[in-house]
Symmetry: D2
Subunit: 347 residues, 4 copies
C-alpha cells in the first residue's frame, strides 16, 4: 500500500498517517518527493484494507500494490488446476470440453432430444436450466426439481455430464444431488452467502462473471469458494454490460488470457450469452478457443423458434454441428483439441 499525500499536506498530517499505519501493525516508509510525499507500508502479507486512511486529512490517494486474493492466484499455485466434473470431462488441460444444451429444461422430450443431438455432435456435457433467474417475475421460472430429474435421465441415457444453475441454498443442495457441476449465474456472482454454500459442497462449481465485474472481483468471488474448502472452480466469461445495444452483452475475450495470467483456475467461454445473437455465436466461439478458453458453453435447442427462453441466441442443431467442426480446427491450430464426448453408459 502506498499513501500519496496531497502536495500541501502538513508534517502533522504525514505523521498521523504513519501512526495509523503503525496502528494497523505495519511499518510506514515516508518518501518525500519534489511535488509531494508518499508513505509506503511494509510488513504486510497480502492486501491491506486502507479505506479509512484514504479519508484522512492531507491524503491524496491510496494505491494498492498487493492483490486482495490469495488461493486463486497463480502465485499461490503456479501450475494449472484441472477440474474434472465427471470421469473424462476435465477443464484446464489440453482438451477443451464443450457444454451444450437448451437454455431451460422444458420437457422430457425436449431435453432428451437436446442431449442426443449435442452428444452426437461431440459435446461432453449437457446444460439446461431447472432454476431460471429471469428479469421478470412473470417469465417462465424453470421446472425446478422436476427439471433436475429430467437432466439426470438424459445423463443416464447419453453419458453426458450435467451442468445446471443453482440460485439459492436449497437449490444448491438439490443441484449437487442430481448434477455434476453447480453453475452460479452472473447475477449471483457476488451472492456471497451462496458462494459460501457451494464452497462447502463437494461438487465442482462453474462461476459466471457478473454483469459488470472486474477480473479481480471475479477472482475474489472464486476465492470465497476456495476459502470455504472447495478447490474445484471453473470460471466463465459470458459478456459484460456494454453501451452498444447491437449485442446483448459485450463479450470480453481478453478475460481469458488475463485469468490465465493471474490465476491457475480454468476459464470457459459462453459466447451464446456473450453476444446474444445466434448468427454471431460461432465466430465468437472460434475467437474464445483461439484465445485459449478451457471450454465452451453453448445454447442449442432442437427447435429454437419455439424455445421458452433465450431463443434468439440459441443454435439450431445443424449450426452446432458446424460450430463443433470449426472450433475443432481452431483448437488444433493452437495445439489443443476439443474433448471427445464421454463414452455411452453401459446398459
Amino acid at each position: 500500500m502506498l499513501v500519496v499525500m496531497q502536495s500541501d499536506a502538513t508534517q502533522g498530517q504525514i505523521d498521523a498517517v504513519c501512526d495509523a499505519i503503525r496502528d494497523m501493525g505495519f511499518q510506514p516508509v515516508p518518501m518525500p518527493g519534489a511535488q509531494r510525499t508518499a508513505v509506503g507500508l511494509i510488513g504486510n502479507d497480502g492486501q491491506v484494507d486502507g479505506s479509512h486512511i484514504s479519508g484522512m486529512a492531507g491524503v491524496g490517494q491510496v494505491l494498492y500494490v498487493s492483490k486482495p486474493y490469495k488461493q486463486v492466484s497463480r502465485e499461490w499455485r503456479p501450475e494449472n488446476t484441472v477440474v474434472e466434473i465427471a470421469p473424462g470431462v476435465a477443464f484446464g488441460g489440453a482438451a477443451v470440453p464443450v457444454i451444450a444444451g437448451p437454455c431451460s429444461v422444458e420437457s422430457e422430450a425436449q431435453i432428451l432430444a437436446s442431449a442426443r443431438a449435442v452428444r452426437a455432435a461431440g459435446a461432453s456435457a449437457l446444460r439446461g436450466g431447472a432454476f431460471k433467474p429471469r428479469s421478470s417475475p412473470y417469465s417462465f421460472q424453470g421446472m425446478g426439481l422436476e427439471g433436475l430429474k429430467l437432466l439426470a435421465k438424459a445423463r443416464e441415457e447419453t453419458g453426458l455430464a450435467v451442468v445446471t444453475e443453482a440460485m439459492d441454498e436449497e437449490g444448491a443442495h438439490l443441484v449437487a444431488e442430481w448434477a455434476d457441476c453447480v453453475q452460479i449465474g452472473a447475477r449471483n456472482m457476488q451472492n456471497f452467502s451462496l458462494l459460501k454454500v457451494v464452497g462447502r459442497l463437494g461438487k465442482p462449481v462453474l462461476l459466471k462473471r457478473g454483469m459488470s465485474a472486474t477480473i479481480q472481483e471475479l477472482l475474489l468471488a472464486a476465492e470465497y469458494v476456495l476459502a470455504a474448502g472447495n478447490p474445484n472452480v471453473i470460471l466463465c466469461e459470458r459478456g459484460v454490460r456494454g453501451f452498444d445495444t447491437a449485442t446483448r452483452n459485450l463479450f470480453d475475450v481478453s478475460a481469458i488470457p488475463l485469468v490465465h495470467k493471474l490465476s491457475h483456475l480454468p476459464i470457459v467461454a459462453d459466447p451464446s450469452h456473450g453476444v446474444g445473437v445466434r448468427e454471431h455465436v460461432p465466430s465468437m466461439a472460434r475467437a474464445a478457443v483461439a484465445a485459449g478458453a478451457d471450454g465452451l458453453i453453448i445454447e442449442v435447442h432442437p427447435n429454437p423458434d419455439r424455445a421458452m427462453s433465450d431463443g434468439a441466441q440459441t443454435l439450431f442443431v445443424e449450426q452446432f454441428e458446424r460450430l463443433m467442426g470449426e472450433v475443432g480446427t481452431i483448437a488444433a491450430a493452437i495445439g489443443r483439441s476439443v474433448a471427445p464426448a464421454p463414452p455411452a453408459p453401459q446398459r
Copy 2:
C-alpha cells in the same frame, strides 16, 4: 411488439412470423414499407417475450412497445406510494427522511454513539450493517445476529427506525424480526430467490440498484417483491459502475426523476456509495434532494479514520450536521422538508 423484417425478407418468412405471433395467441399486423416490412402485434396485455421470434429467418430486430413490469408502474397506480417503515418515518411524501449511521455495526459503544449523534443531527433512521457483503472473503463480514441486537438496542434508546441489510433467506428472517426495514444490497438486486423471500415478509424493503442495472431492471426487481405480496418497496440509487476511477461509482442522479416518471414507488439516494469520497458526499446529497429524492442514506461514524469498512466515504459527525442543514435548505427550496427525527421513546 414490432417485428422489423430484413430488407430482403421473403414473403414466406413474413408469413412464418405472422404464424408464430398467432401461435402466441396474438394478432399480427403486417406493414409493408419502402425499405422493409414490419409486423405489429396486437391483442397483448403487457409485454410479450419475443426472444424466439428475433432469431427467426428474415427477422431484423424485435422492438418492444409495452413495458415488462406491471404493479410497480405509474400506469398501474398513478398516485405516489408512501412507505412508512416506523411510526412517523415515511418515504414518498413531502417530508424527506434521512437514514444515517456507520457502514457496519462494530460494537455497542460505536453503534450507540452513532445513533445518538445522527439523531441529534436530525436523522429519522439508523443504518448499520450486521451482515456485510464484502468483495473479499478475508474482510470483516459483520457481527451477524449480535449486530442486529445492538441495532435494536440503539432504537430502543433513540427512537430511530432501523434499516439493515439481509444477504440470504435466514438473514432476511432475522432482519425482519429485529429491524424496521430490510435492505437488499446492490449485489443482490437480481438475487431473485431472496427477492421472493422478502416479498413474503411483512417488512418494508429498501432495494438498492445493482452495479450496472438499468432502471427497467431495477423496476423488475421491485416487481418481484410486489408480485410476492409486499407493496412496501423503497428504491435506492447508489451509483453505477463507471469508467472513471476518480469516484468509486458513477452516481446517477437522473435515476430519481426517471423512477418518479415510470413508477409510483419512492426512491432514496445513497451518495456515500454513489461517489465513495467523503468530501463529495454533501454536494451529491444536495443534488439528489434538488432532483427530488424521497430520502437519503448517509454513512456517518464517530471516528471514520478507525472504521472497519468504508472509512473513506464515511462522514465525521460534524460534517453530517452541516450536511443536514444544507439539505434542509435545498428541500425547502423545492417545497419539501427534511423529516424531523422521530420522538424519543417513552421511558
Copy 3:
C-alpha cells in the same frame, strides 16, 4: 511513479528497472516487501511517462503518484479562475450565468425569437449551433457563416453574449470573429489540433467533456488550451455514455465537485444533453446547481416540435421560465444567485 515488481522478479530485473529510471534522469528507491519489491522514483517534477517500464520483464504494474496536468490544477493556482466572456457575463464567481437557446440556428426569425425569449426569462448568453456535428452526413449540418451572422444580430438586439461551436480551424477563426465564446463539442474534446488552434485564439473556450472522457482526460484537454496560451477555459459536463438507453447519456453530476477539487477552472452543466429528455431537464438543472455548477447551458426553442435537431430534449419557453425560477431558488439556498441578464444594448 511506483514500479511494483512481480512476486517472482529476479534481482537482475529489479536492477534493470532501476537502470531505466536512472536513464530517465531520476533516482530509483527500491523497497523490498514481504510479497514483492516496489521501486519508487524520486526527483521528478510532474508525471513521468513510464509506459515502456510497465512492459519490462518482472514488472507487475506501474502506479502514478503525480498528476499529468499542471496549469489547470488547483495546486498550480489555488483560487478560482473567473472567465468573463462578455461584460458582466462571468463564470466561476458567486453568480451563475445561464446560456440558453436552440440546438441549431435555423432562421433569422427563429434565432431572434429564441434570443428575446431566453433573455426575458433571465438568460445571460445565447447558444445556437451554426456548425453542427451530426452523427449522420445526411442530417442538417448547420447554416455556417450565415448562422454566425444571425447570432451576432441577435446579440446586437438583445445584449446576450453568444456561445457557439467550432468544429475545425477555419470554423474556429470564424466563431472567434463573430461570437464571444468558442464551444468545443464532446466529439472534439480530444481533437488536439483544434485545441491548439483555440489555445492561440484570444477568445474564451467552453470545452465539453467527451462521451467517455475521464475527469483527468478532460483536464488534460483543457491543459492543451492553457499550454497554448489561453487561460480562459470553461469546462462543461454534458453526460457520458452509459448502458441504460432510458436516457440519452448518463449525466455525471459528480463531475462538478470533482473538477472543483482538482482544478481552478469553472465548470458548467448541460442537462439538456445530459439526460436528453425534455421533462427531466429541470430536475437535472436543479441538481447541477445544488452540486455547485458555475453555469448552465440549456436548449430552448420557440417551437421544439418543429426543431431541426434535438427537439426531444429542447424546452418550451414556458418550461424554461419555470426552470429559471427553480434554479434561482436552489442557487439562493447555497448562497449563490443566478446571474442577471446583461443590460440591453444602447441604441
Copy 4:
C-alpha cells in the same frame, strides 16, 4: 419509425402526432392496442429524424426501424468491398494483411530497423505515427513531416505499404502525399470536418472506432467518407472504454462479425491498443483472426523498453515473429491466409 403513445394519450394527442408525420411528408398508420396506441410511419426511404416527435405531448417513445446509414450498408452493396492500399496489399479478400511497426516514428535508424524486421516476419504494411494524438500536451507529439519522409524512405527500401495517422486537414494532405493509407484515430472518429476532408482525398482511409462508439456510429462515420466520394474505407476495432483497469481498453472482438453482417467494408483489428498489455496481444490477435478480421495492425519496436510511446503494449521483434506464425495457422484453420509481404522494390 414507430411512435408509441403513452397509455393515457388522448385522441387529440394521437391526431397531433399523425399531423406531424404528414408534415414530414410521410403517411401515419395508427395501431390501437390493449395498453396503448402506436403510430407507424410509412413512405420513408431511409431513417427519419423523429427527435421532435419524441418530445410531443402524449408520446411515450419513438422506435426506429430503418438504419440511418446507406452506402456503407450490406443492403446497399451485398458483396465485400476490397480496399487495396498498394499493389498486392488488399483488405477484404481471403488474404489477411498485417500492418506492423512502432507507435511513433522516432528516428531514421528506428523506423528502418522496424520496417526491415516486420517485413522479414511477413508484414505487408508499416505503421508508425508522425502526428501523434497524446492525452497530454507535454508528451512527445511526433516528428511531423520529417517522420512522413522517413516512412517513405522505409517504404522505398522494403516495399512495405505505409499507413499513418492524420489529425487535421493540413496533416491529411501531407499523409496523402507521403503514405498509402490515411489513418483516422479513435479520438477523431467523429471529427466530421476531418472525415469530409479525407472523403475528398483519393487515398484509402483506415478509420478507427471511437472510444465509446457504437457500431452504428462507426458505420455513420464511414458513411461521411463515402458520402464525400471516397469508397475505400477500412474499419478498425481497437478496443472500447471499459470499466476494468486491468486492460487499457476492452477489445470488442464481436465488432468483427457485426460489421461483416451490417456492412460490406473490411474491418481490421488492433489488439495492441485493444488490450494494451504486450503479453496478451498474441492471444487477442489470434482471436480476431478466428472471428474473421480482414487484417491486423500490431505495434512492434526493435527496443520497446526504450520506445517513446506505448512501450507497454509494443511487441519485441521475436514476439512478433511468433505471432505471425500463430495467426497464420489460425487463418488457415478458417480457410484464409496471412497475406505475403509485398515484393522487394526493384533497384
